[in-house]
Symmetry: C2
Amino acid sequence: MTIRDVAARAGVSPATVSRVFTQPHAVTLQTRQRVMAAADELRYTPHPVARSLARGRTGNLGLIVPDMAIAFSAVITKAVQHQARRDGYALFVADSDDQAQGEDRIAAAMAKQVDGLVLSAPSMSDRQLRELADIAPLVLINRELDGIPAVLMQATDAAGHAVEHLDALGHRELVYLAGPSGYSNAMRQQAFRETSGRLGIPAAELGPFEPTFSAGVRAADLVLATSATAVVAYNDEIAVGVANRLADRGVRVPEDLSIVGFDDTSLAAMVTPRLTTVRLPATAAGAAAVHLLLDTLRGDDVSGRTPVELPAELIVRSSTGPASRTGTT
Amino acid sequence: MTIRDVAARAGVSPATVSRVFTQPHAVTLQTRQRVMAAADELRYTPHPVARSLARGRTGNLGLIVPDMAIAFSAVITKAVQHQARRDGYALFVADSDDQAQGEDRIAAAMAKQVDGLVLSAPSMSDRQLRELADIAPLVLINRELDGIPAVLMQATDAAGHAVEHLDALGHRELVYLAGPSGYSNAMRQQAFRETSGRLGIPAAELGPFEPTFSAGVRAADLVLATSATAVVAYNDEIAVGVANRLADRGVRVPEDLSIVGFDDTSLAAMVTPRLTTVRLPATAAGAAAVHLLLDTLRGDDVSGRTPVELPAELIVRSSTGPASRTGTT
DNA sequence: ATGAAAGCGCTAACAC
DNA sequence: GTGTTAGCGCTTTCAT
C-alpha cells in the first residue's frame, strides 16, 4: 500500500494524499473525505521511513542510559518515553552497560536515525560529547559541558540537609560511601564535605564503590571498622546493601547506625527499615530534557542557556535516628 | 556528506562506494582502500534512513513492555537490547503503561519502522495481535497465540515446588495473591491450585491485585484476616509489600507467616528477610525472543514451531520457615 | 570489477 | 486547491 494506490483509488494525485496527512486544511473537506475513505479501505498509513527521508527528520528521539537495570535509569527512561510520545516522537533506547568506551559508538550509531539525543549521566569524554553534538542535537542529564543544553538534578542542598539532619540527631562522626566518579558523585561528595566541615563533624570517605547492592554489602564491613555512627551512601542500592549486611552482623538500624541513601528509588520505601534518602527529580528531569530537545529542534538557540536545575529533597524515613550513646562515648 | 561526495573524492561511482560498504569483496582491494580513505576523510557513514528505504528493511527491532519501571521488565529490556545489538540491530522500546488500549496503537506505530517486534506479556486482544502480525513479524513473551512464535517462562513446575516446599514446612493453610489476569498469573494460579489440591492443603485465593508494592501492603491485612500460615504472591513486589505491612503490624516473617514471591527480581535478595521466590529466566527469554525473531527475518518459517519453554526455579531464602505451632493448632 | 539508471515511498516547491 | 516535477541518499539490477 503506497501513497499512489490511495491516490488512484481516490482519483487524486499523490501530492494531495500527502497533504491530507500532513496539512489537512490545505485540502477541501470533500476531497479530504474521499482520500480518507480510500486510505481507510486500503488500510494505508504513511511509511515512516520514506517520510523521514523526504522530510529530513525522523520523528524519533534517542536515549542512552548507563544501565537500565538500575531503578533510577528505568524511571528516567519511562519519563523520557512518556514525554516523547506526548509530543509525537518515538524513542530509541540504549544501555551503555557502563562502558564509557562503547557508549560513544552506540550514541553515534543512534544519532543518525533520530532527531535528537538525550544522554543520561554519560561517561564519555568531553571531546566525544562534542563530536556527537555535531551529528545530532544533544541534551545532557546530570553532566555539564559548555554550549550543550543540560538538565541537572541539584542535590547539593538536599545532601547538605542530610548532613544537618544527622547532626541534629547527635551524630558526631560520619562516613560517605562514594560512587563512581562523575557529576552525581562529585556533587554529593562535595556537599557532604562542606556541610560536615561547616558543622565541625569528623567525616571520612570510603570508596569509590559500584552503585550496586553487592558493593554496599561489602562497604558495610568497612564502615563498621570505623567509629562512625552514621553513613551517607552514594545511592539507595549501596545504602540497602549496607543495611542488609548490618542486619546479618547484628547491628541495628537506626539504633546502632543511621543510614542515608540517594535517589529515592522505589526500593527505598520497600526495605525494612524504610530508607531515609535524598529524592531526585528523575521524572521531572526526563520530561525537562525532552522539552529542551524539542526547543532545539524547533530552532531555538538553546546552547547558551544556563542548565535547568531541578531541586532534590531529603525524605526522612526510619533508617536514621538518634546517635547511640555508646557511639558518642 | 553523501555517497556522492565520497564517490567524487575517490574517483569512482556511487555504486562502487555502496558496494564497499555492503559487499566489500565485490570490489578490488585497491579501489576499496581508495574509497575507505575518502570516506574516512569525509567522515562519511551511510545514512541509515536512506539505506532502510532502499533495502526495504530497517535494521531495527522493537520491544513493548507493560511497564519499564517494573524490575522484571527492565531485565527483559536489557536482555533484548543486548542480544539485538550483538546481532547488529538497534532497539526501539515502548512502555504501554499497562493500558491494553494504547498498547496496540503504540505497537502499530512502531511496527512500520522496525523489522520485527517483541511483545512482552501483551495485554491486547488476540485479534489485535493478529492484525499486528500482518504488519510486522512478531515474537511473544509470556503469551500464547496459535501461529505466532513465542517464548514462555514455564513457571508451573517451580510454582508447584513452592507449594510442596510450604507443605514440607508444615503449612496447612495457604493463600495465593493473584496478579493481573494474563498468561503469567494463569499459570501461577493454576499450579498453586493443583499442587495444593493434590497435597490436600486448604488453599484460598485473593485478588486480583496490581503487581505493585502498594497492592501488597493492602493485601497483607486481607491475608491476616484468614488463618493461613503461608502466602504465595503473584510477584516479588506484592510479596515485599505484604512483608512490609506485616512488619508494621508486628507479625514476624517467617516465624508467624511465610511468604513466597515470583520473578526473583533484584529486590528479592535485598529485603529483610530475603525473599523465597520463583526465579524466572527473564534474561534467557529476552535473548531467545530475539533469536526467534531473527530466524523469522532470515526467512525460516517459525509460525508452526512449538513455543520455546524456559524453566523457572524455586529459590529458597529466609522468608519461608516452619509453620508456627499456634497457626496449626 | 565497475558504471549508468531506475526506484524505494514520500514531501515540497512550483505551477496552474 | 490541486497536479507536476524533483528530489531525499541509498541499493540494485543490468550492461559493459
